[in-house]
Symmetry: C2
Subunit: 301 residues, 2 copies
């Protein structure tokens, strides 16, 4: 089944285009998981604490989001122990009925890209493996031959990718916005083209685009360039984007845009308004606010 | 100690600017390691076979190269078992007295880039850890805030990075060469700037550049833009570059350019001329030919 169709069904079922980012910033973890940031503790124990926190966060959010997006860097921090934690978290998310977009931003020459695509989306073995992702983020800087192996796996295994088109960070203006048309514009055209043959029954493609929610003014332009492309919009919440900012990315098709928040939900307990509250309560309220805010903005547009 | 100084000393000691790429293409592995490509075999057994092959390759090459460059994708293929194999191979290379450039091509927003830099170069614990890399390749598409956390670690821990400036693959022309000046040109200027304060006593910087050896005509231009930058030149051998092609990247400073071959050495036994020979003998001869060829070209320029 095409990834876009699976994505649309999942978003429809939860009535929520929200994605929970799983970014285990060690410094921000609640005290109960403080062993994760203890440089004297065993690496395996530290990785296990990260996995435990994220699994609890998944359980908390599973009724309100369709998708989680684990960030690989915070797992790789713990080497092989972190890789084990990653597999545990991905499997836990699948068990909770969620889709998983691995935020790995890989990009390499063709034969290497094929290994990454197999590693993350398809697995090297014969048996189905629920430690694999449904989709991953990819960096297309190396060009078409760095993406094509992913497209093959998407086609063969019903998986998806989200190509970095315009990222949410301040540095995105260093290289992505220069040129006429800009690098991001060229990446958008390429993403649209790569995804054309991977459209599902819902009309959306299994090839998505990452466009920072922090750039509300360009979302409409990006949508025109990529009418069939699911947008993954990071930067909601902690990075500053609000519900009204992301409307330009949505279309009449459910699943056309996914709004992602990481720190704003997971670490809401650290906000001034939440001093003294349990991290779960603060996260749950932040999640409600996000889901409700996006839903209201979509209804009233 | 600055990474560039360590690099220069290592290159001088071996009298070889050659890097052995450790790319474990499963389909190309010698029969003795065929379990690595058996989808029915246990994942741990497959990963262990990859590690064993690469460790033997390291032992074979350790007297003729100063640096090895493992490619993370072929390890990630086996998930947590692959991560364990990666650590084993990196540690083995260090034990053999070699520097390790992890070919990981990571690139992400600031807080995440910091996690990658710690993960790969510095480690999350207190003890020195020889499973870490001396340097890694990075993708600067996300801009300055995706690189700065790496620079901090380079400064603090004596590590290095190699920024992708112009890659060796055909798709490098899709995005890297457009614009006036081109994206690669802009990346070269940024790489020079990022590395300025990280020059070692040898005059070279701990911030290097990846420039495909497959583009001989631009190496001179790149060298002018980045006079203090160590160049990592992949694409030698199997991807088509020859000794004369890479001369433009070298300067009078030892360590200014590193020529990297992966398949051309590791899988030389598959070449027509080597039918029936043991993979070690073929690899050893290919390594001699590479090291000798580059040395001769440098002497006669």
């Amino acid at each position: 089944m095409n990834f876009a169709d699976r994505l649309q069904a999942a978003v429809a079922q939860k009535d929520s285009p929200c994605v929970l980012g799983l970014d285990a910033h060690l410094d921000l973890l609640p005290e109960a998981f403080a062993v994760a940031r203890d440089p004297k503790a065993a690496r395996s124990e530290r990785a296990a604490a990260v996995a435990e926190f994220l699994c609890q966060l998944i359980d908390l959010a599973a009724d309100r989001v369709a998708v989680v997006k684990p960030q690989s860097a915070f797992f790789e921090l713990f080497g092989a122990d972190g890789a084990e934690a990653w597999e545990k978290v991905v499997a836990h998310a699948h068990d909770a009925g969620l889709l998983v977009i691995g935020d790995v931003k890989r990009g390499d020459i063709a034969s290497t890209a094929a290994a990454y695509a197999t590693a993350l989306l398809e697995g090297p073995g014969e048996a189905p493996d629920h430690r694999l992702c449904d989709a991953v983020t990819v960096n297309a800087f190396l060009g078409h031959d760095s993406i094509e192996p992913f497209l093959e796996v998407c086609r063969r295994a019903g998986r998806g990718i989200f190509v970095l088109v315009r990222t949410s960070n301040p540095g995105s203006e260093d290289f992505q916005t220069f040129g006429e048309p800009s690098l991001s514009h060229r990446l958008a055209l390429a993403t649209h083209r790569w995804g054309w043959d991977l459209r599902g029954e819902c009309g959306l493609s299994a090839v998505g685009a990452v466009v920072g929610a922090t750039h509300p003014r360009i979302l409409g332009e990006m949508r025109e360039l990529m009418p069939h492309t699911p947008f993954l919009l990071p930067g909601f919440g902690a990075q500053g984007a609000r519900p009204a900012d992301v409307l330009g990315a949505f279309t009449s098709r459910e699943g056309a845009a996914l709004v992602s928040s990481s720190r704003g939900v997971a670490f809401a307990y650290r906000q001034k308004a939440n001093v003294g509250r349990h991290w779960r309560d603060a996260a749950s309220d932040a999640l409600d606010a996000m889901v409700g805010g996006v839903r209201d903005a979509l209804t009233s547009r």
